[in-house]
Amino acid sequence: MVKENLCVQIAGLGSRDEVVMNDLQWIQSAKNGDEDAYAELVRRHSGGLHRTVARILADDTEAWDVVQMAFLKAWQKLDRYNPRFSFTTWLYRIGTNLAIDLLRSRTSRERAHKAGTEHRLRLVGSGEGAGARADSTEATNVLQQLVEVLTPQQRSAFVLREMEGLETAEVAEVLGCSATTVRNHIFQARKALRRELKARFPEYLPASERG
């Protein structure tokens, strides 16, 4: 499924295809009632799913709850899993839907509070430049603005596409919408973020842009 960030790195396994094959083997065993096999699937995928959900919710702790719920739901529906699709895509669909439901159920005040107090957005970069400054508490404020200005669907699409590096078709599959809708979500999200960054966080922009 995944090009970069979502790719599961297993020691001793050389390619993504091998990982997917092993996933299918574990799933088959789990379907036959092998709980240890399912535990292995949880071990492989919980970290990646947590990172994605935490970015959508802007809350590390709550994200673990959602991850647990997603794996429980996946276990209960394991008989309905279609091996033609990636297990990761199926799992991320369950997790993302739970995260979207949670975002919708929160009040805007709760969202702002949680984003402002608990989440840390980790961005790479070293030396001079905006990227280097991004890995700071200021990034938390940027994420807080994300919660305020983006709808749950826009936020999920943007995180999956821009931060996790999924292909458009994969994001569409996870969110259960068309590729055109995904592109529209990304476009709207980028537009809102561009506006917010310029207006509220000019320090993230290059010196020539800050005015």
Partner: protein
């Protein structure tokens, strides 16, 4: 050369028209080249978020998640098993309660109008009856199932059944 290609690709990346395999290269270069990053952010500030790393979760947190999920799965399985095994005993207990209840009703009807009053009075005195120690009877009633019967010495009409499966005891 790479930087030149990168800068030419910024527009198509943002417009979602850059080929998928080129996007991965674009994002990698964005992270690794400070000069191009500066240029890209000047053109499109929201590219800041494309630099988010694939941070790994703490192994302890992952193991805690595995334990929590598998614990819930096992708990659900035990609950289902217990419910399935209890079903026939629940039916038997329900039949016994109906029989006892029917017997009490019959007695009160046979005993006339005052019988009802007597049962109300008896209920009011329930707390007094509970003071005396209950009788405990244990019997093996089927494979892997023990039935505990608690009955009050002073009230032979009332009985409570507890059904325990030793295999499910923690």
């Amino acid at each position: 050369m790479n930087c030149e290609i990168f800068r030419d690709s910024i527009g198509s990346y943002v417009d979602e028209t850059l080929e998928e395999d080129r996007r991965l290269w674009f994002r990698t270069h964005l992270r690794e080249c400070p000069t191009c990053r500066e240029e890209a952010l000047r053109e499109e500030p929201s590219l800041l978020f494309a630099m988010a790393p694939a941070s790994q979760s703490e192994p302890e947190a992952v193991e805690a998640c595995v334990a929590a999920v598998m614990g819930r799965i096992r708990q659900d399985r035990l609950k289902r098993r217990l419910l399935q095994r209890r079903r026939p005993w629940f039916a038997a207990a329900a039949a016994a309660i109906i029989a006892i209840g029917g017997g009490l009703t019959w007695r009160s009807v046979i005993g006339g109008g005052s019988g009802t009053q007597e049962s109300v009075v008896a209920s009011a005195k329930g707390s007094e009856l509970q003071r005396s120690p209950p009788t405990v009877e244990v019997e093996m009633a089927g494979e892997e199932v023990r039935v505990y019967q608690f009955a009050n010495d002073e009230d032979s009409d009332t009985a409570v059944y507890f059904i325990v499966d030793p295999a499910l005891e923690l």
